[in-house]
């Protein structure tokens, strides 16, 4: 409007005023001026008023329900979903920190290509081009593909990948990462398959138990679902009529669970099965707990050297017999086989022997006992973690050049397996590696393409809850609570798009997008606790309430016993000669960093470890007596070496560890994975060999011996606790 003069302006203004007055007289609603903002906020967003959306936590595979607080379109707080059967409104530190995955400064912001593997020089690629490239690579590779998934992969994506693999004739996806490895998922599944013919993860009803014997199960720290077991533990300590339960923890180094135990038994690493056998033998021989339990024990107990078992627990034979009697005579005793068992060479057998204690006590499928997962209707199943043998098979295929394209989602194989497993060498033989992970982790650095998936707060999905707490079958919903923060695409949608062009896969993956697939699967579920007569209402309530579960838990019959006699356990052997390597190595997942994926989040890095109060670092826990003998003190940097490798860590004098054992947490020692994780601490998996256990369930990370040598260096421990000696007169007041 170049010729718009002052005179014109006045004319228009006068006309406008006249119209406004006329309109004002005619219709009431037009009397008010409507202010139109430049940007129109979404209808449900009011400034200053939070909205809450239900979803599922994916910081570990337990499947806790979350509700996310959204203020002006930003996610600002994650809390537990009070309706959810797993966590019942509670949430652990790792779950709280999920926000920092969404807002991580080092997230991959879009599709990218790396010309030279390991160069860390990523060039942005348009998504259409990236998807086309993926299509070309996958269609050229045909069945010569490998799919590696992990515990942050949603069940729907696992399902789609499995369908794709089947359609093109490739082996099923491998679902394995350090989380499933260090938690011993596969050994637990295999042991239960051997005992009951049912490969399932049971839950242990801690809340209603009287006496719990936990064999290395850190169920309050990291094992399976610390939040769900935390809720149960609160109830365990607060039972009717003032009963508070008795927890006996067998482990070489005190864990969070050990700290809360009424009796902490510093068992020799690898002797758990021996002690469980001894308890069975004592119950059988002494007839503890009545004839029924004693008879069952007599049938299932093997031959065992009781003195050796007692010595492994640093107690007398009488004390061990007292424990056996305590267990057998309790109304609701419970024996929990933990993760540390799964890392020994005989892990699956050891888990089974501990499980025999529950069978002897008759605690299967009863309140306060072992509960087996009920079936989820509509054919929804939780993805089962792969065995280490399956992982090795994939690595062999890769090394043989039989894998032309490797797709990695939710796992970080380079970090998740010991160097001797040869993951890096195997990756070199793969033509195309695609990482779907949100951060440039150790595996993504060796990838050719980064096609970042949405993180769980931005994406769709669901989790079939495993293990199912309270015997409640549940499918937990995951919906985008915020819009994608970066230019990232849902991997499931990318896969569906690619599959459309591949004739073999097109028929197997006919869905237009992932939401159509999820909706189809979910609406097949019957009416649950959320109600809803028709499918649309059920779908809406599934998202609104955070999932599907029935109103009451269906009861389950005790499983048929497949094992009728004693279970033989191979003696634990150790890597490294006792003379050269005098100490047992005890590895454990960090309470805060988990299997290492928490290391990229500053909230978790800066929160102190519960028992040592150390943050940001990797330390070695050494009994003060041993430290004195070796001339070591807090803050000395030592070199811990095994037959497989060596790491340098800081000494922490820890009073609750066996003098012949060194404990190192897993979780630090990343070479990538963002600025908070990189070049920090040591990765203890370098001390471990890559041999499989006798059942092929896991690599053996719990039967290694190490030696320690002092270096000249010192490093102050970043710890919260006071280092001032309070002197002998100060007593803890509680």
């Amino acid at each position: 409007m170049t010729n718009f003069t002052r005179r014109d302006f006045l004319k228009v203004g006068a006309a406008g005023t006249a119209t406004a007055i006329l309109a004002g007289c005619s219709q009431e609603s037009e009397r008010w001026v409507t202010l139109e903002p430049y940007v129109r906020a979404p209808e449900e967003q009011l400034a200053g008023i939070p909205s809450w959306y239900a979803s599922t936590c994916r910081m570990c595979p337990a499947g806790c329900g979350i509700i996310v607080r959204i203020m002006n379109g930003r996610a600002v707080k994650i809390e537990g979903n009070p309706e959810h059967p797993v966590n019942r409104g509670k949430l652990c530190a790792r779950g709280q920190a999920g926000l920092q995955l969404l807002y991580n400064p080092d997230r991959v912001t879009g599709a990218a290509r790396q010309e030279e593997r390991g160069s860390r020089k990523f060039k942005a690629v348009a998504w259409n081009e990236a998807i086309n490239t993926l299509y070309e690579k996958l269609s050229a590779a045909g069945s010569a593909i490998g799919i590696w998934l992990g515990s942050s992969t949603s069940a729907h994506l696992h399902d789609l990948f499995a369908r794709y693999a089947e359609a093109v004739g490739a082996p099923p996806p491998v679902y394995y990462d350090l989380y499933t490895g260090l938690n011993g998922y596969r050994a637990l599944l295999d042991a239960n398959a051997a005992l009951f013919g049912q490969a399932a993860l049971p839950t242990y009803n801690v809340a209603r138990a009287d006496v719990i014997f936990s064999f290395g199960a850190d169920f309050l720290g990291t094992w399976l679902s610390a939040t769900a077991y935390g809720v149960e533990f609160g109830q365990f300590r607060d039972q009717p009529y003032g009963k508070r339960g008795l927890l006996v923890q067998f482990e070489p180094k005190m864990s969070v669970t050990g700290a809360k135990a009424d009796r902490w038994v510093p068992i020799r690493p690898g002797a758990e099965a021996l002690v469980a056998q001894a308890l069975l033998r004592l119950i059988a021989d002494e007839g503890y707990g009545g004839s029924e339990r004693a008879e069952r024990a007599a049938r299932l107990a093997g031959d065992v050297d009781l003195d050796e078992a007692a010595a492994a627990c640093e107690m007398t034979r009488e004390e061990l017999a007292t424990l056996a009697r305590l267990f057998a005579e309790a109304q609701h005793p419970l024996a929990i086989p933990g993760a540390a068992l799964a890392g020994t060479g005989n892990g699956t057998q050891a888990v089974a022997v501990v499980q025999l204690l529950n069978i002897v006590a008759g605690m299967l499928s009863v309140p306060g006992g072992v509960q087996f997962p009920p079936e989820v209707p509509a054919g929804l199943t939780a993805p089962q973690p792969s065995s280490y043998a399956e992982v090795q098979a994939l690595l062999e295929r890769m090394k043989a050049g039989e894998v032309r394209a490797l797709l990695v989602h939710g796992a970080n194989p380079v970090y998740d397996l010991p160097p001797e497993a040869g993951v890096v060498e195997a990756l070199q033989r793969v033509e195309t590696i695609v990482s779907f992970n949100p951060l440039v982790d150790e595996t993504a650095v060796l990838a050719d393409y980064l096609l970042p998936d949405r993180v769980y707060l931005e994406g769709w999905g669901y989790t079939v809850v495993q293990p199912a707490f309270g015997g409640m079958p549940a499918v937990s919903s995951q919906q985008p609570v915020v819009g994608p923060f970066h230019d990232v695409r849902s991997t499931a949608d990318v896969l569906l798009t690619v599959a459309r062009g591949i004739p073999a896969a097109a028929a197997a993956l006919p869905w237009t997008d992932e939401v159509a697939f999820i909706k189809e699967r979910i609406t097949a579920l019957p009416k649950g606790a959320q109600g809803g007569e028709d499918a649309e209402v059920r779908w809406a309530r599934f998202l609104q309430h955070g999932g599907w579960w029935p109103e009451t838990a269906p009861g389950s019959a005790p499983p048929e016993l497949a094992a009728q006699g004693p279970i033989g356990v191979l003696p634990t052997t150790y890597d490294g000669d006792e003379a050269d390597y005098p100490f047992y190595l005890h590895l454990y997942p960090s309470v805060l960093l988990g299997d290492g994926r928490g290391a990229s989040l500053p909230w978790l890095q800066s929160a102190p470890d519960p028992l040592t109060t150390v943050a940001w670092q990797t330390w070695a826990e050494i009994n003060p007596v041993t430290a004195e003998a070796l001339g070591l003190k807090d803050g000395d940097v030592v070199r811990v070496a095994s037959p497989h490798g060596a790491v340098e860590v800081i000494v922490y004098e820890f009073p609750a560890i066996r003098p012949d054992t060194i404990a190192i947490p897993v979780g630090q020692g990343h070479s990538d994975s963002g600025r908070y994780a990189r070049e920090r601490g040591a990765h203890a998996l370098q001390l471990v060999g890559a041999a499989a256990d006798e059942a092929g369930a896991n690599f053996t990370w719990a039967n290694v011996r190490v030696k320690i040598t002092k270096t000249e260096r010192q490093q102050a421990l970043a710890r919260l606790e006071s280092t001032i000696d309070p002197g002998p007169d100060v007593h803890v007041p509680f």
Partner: protein, 240 residues
């Protein structure tokens, strides 16, 4: 000056040490809720770890009969608070309505007298401006200010949640219900070791639990009258 029942609320926390597993869920929840910056490794080494709630760990006994005890410590919201009378600018004062020790950040001039006088060491001084690597600032809770350098800060019992719940109750024309206000730490605690409520509301869970046979207060002999009750850990003996 000791508190007498007058008006408003007496917000009270009960910490059941028998249930606290030291899991740090409350610590991270508090960082998220209250925009507390993450201390770096160097700052922790210098003893400047800033957590509004910390879980102290005590060792008891010798190997093999060694025990670890956890003690969550945060501002005790004293009825007779040593931090209040020493503040020259009334930045640290006692809220009549909520019966809490309140810190007015924009009044604080950073004399650190209150921190010196606090026997529980729960007041944290901001030596530097807080920094959040972008886009981590997106995680900040808009209900809570980000404290600048030279300012003392501490646990508030999540007063923003108290205010929000009370405003909601006012809008609906009803009194606050027990359990309606949950600080972030209480909300996250898996084992239910933390219990929060108004002690002056006779029907509240805290009012019903107190007095408790296991109860004690931290440094009770100082006469600070904390609003936090700790319940001593229990014992179950093996085989006796």
């Amino acid at each position: 000056m000791a508190e007498e029942r007058q008006q408003g609320h007496k917000w009270t926390m009960i910490v059941d040490l028998d249930k606290c597993t030291g899991c740090q869920a409350c610590v991270v929840a508090c960082h998220a809720e209250n925009n507390v910056p993450s201390p770096s490794e160097d700052e922790i080494i210098r003893g400047r770890a800033n957590h509004w709630i910390r879980i102290e760990r005590y060792w008891e006994g010798e190997y093999p009969n060694v025990k670890a005890r956890f003690l969550p410590v945060f501002c005790q919201q004293c009825g007779n608070a040593p931090c209040e009378p020493v503040c020259p600018v009334y930045a640290s004062y006692h809220s009549v309505e909520e019966n809490l020790n309140v810190q007015v950040y924009n009044r604080c001039v950073g004399t650190r007298y209150c921190g010196n006088n606090c026997p529980y060491r729960v007041r944290i001084f901001n030596f530097w401006a807080p920094h959040f690597d972008p886009p981590l600032e997106q995680q900040l809770n808009p209900d809570v200010t980000v404290r600048g350098p030279g300012v003392m800060e501490k646990c508030t019992f999540c007063i923003q949640r108290i205010r929000r719940a009370r405003e909601q109750a006012n809008v609906e024309g009803r009194p606050l219900e027990d359990g309606e206000v949950q600080p972030a730490c209480v909300q996250s605690c898996p084992t239910d070791a933390l219990i929060f409520g108004d002690k002056w509301d006779e029907n509240s869970r805290v009012a019903k639990m107190i007095p408790h046979e296991r109860q004690f207060k931290l440094l009770e002999h100082l006469g600070t009258e904390p609003a936090v009750y700790y319940l001593k850990g229990g014992e179950t003996h093996v085989g006796e």
